[in-house]
């Protein structure tokens, strides 16, 4: 997700019922893992994700995700020591 989010950045997120196109979301991948990606497209029941870093590959970007999942919208990224970035 470079350059928007770097490894070890902290994200401030809010639980949302509806996701919006182009917003950055955090969602459950399984019971233990979360993923963070940008919403690329939304259809009635599914949405697709994209990465801000177009030079890297991720299989998340080729998958359809159910719109019934629980989402957290990322609104702020904190980078040590003093950098805050509104998303």
């Amino acid at each position: 997700m470079l350059p928007t989010i770097r490894h070890n950045d902290y994200l401030l997120t809010f639980k949302v019922k509806k996701i919006e196109k182009k917003s950055i979301i955090v969602s459950f991948l399984d019971d233990k893992r979360f993923i963070v990606k940008r919403v690329k497209d939304i259809s009635e029941n599914f949405f697709t994700l994209s990465s801000d870093n177009k030079m890297t590959e991720s299989e998340f970007c080729n998958q359809k995700f159910s719109a019934n999942k629980i989402f957290y919208k990322a609104v702020l990224a904190y980078r040590y020591p003093f950098k805050f970035n509104l998303l």
Binding site: R33, V36, K54, M55, E59
Partner: protein
């Protein structure tokens, strides 16, 4: 306080970013070699041993052509993204040609088809390495069928 933070991942490919067209190149060379070996068998020899040997070569030729198709498909489908496609708009046509040529190699035992496959996979490899900013050079492979292959110029350590 920080121990309660959850970790969110942005990547999941395992292994991430490890792509190399060398596997497809070796498989394409193998197709040429297997066709050569098939032509070395005496057409009039219909002994069980000869038939078994011929069968093995044909099966392996099929398998190697499939490896070419699979490896090229993976790199094309998983690695090539908008920036790489924009700089090499002919990549879709080239990949389709590789698929067609590999199929021809499966259908027949014509050496020219296999040579064409090696040539096209070399072209694919050259494009792949150029997207990574790595120059390539043409060298003769040091084993039969001793055809020209495109390989990356990598740093020595």
């Amino acid at each position: 306080m920080f121990k309660d933070f959850q970790i969110a991942e942005a990547h999941c490919d395992i292994p991430c970013k490890i792509y190399d067209p060398a596997i497809a190149q070796v498989a394409a060379l193998s197709v040429v070699r297997l066709i050569d070996l098939l032509h070395e068998i005496d057409d009039d020899d219909n002994s069980l041993k000869s038939i078994a040997h011929r069968s093995r070569l044909v099966i392996e030729k099929e398998a190697q052509a499939k490896i070419v198709k699979n490896e090229v498909n993976i790199i094309w489908g998983d690695y090539f993204k908008a920036p790489q496609i924009e700089s090499h708009p002919n990549i879709h046509t080239l990949v389709h040609e590789i698929m067609m040529t590999a199929s021809k190699c499966k259908q027949d035992v014509i050496r020219e088809n296999a040579e064409e496959l090696v040539k096209k996979v070399n072209e694919f490899a050259t494009i792949f390495w150029s997207t990574k900013g790595i120059d390539t050079e043409n060298v003769v492979c040091p084993y039969p069928p001793e055809l020209i292959v495109s390989r990356p110029k990598l740093d020595s350590v």
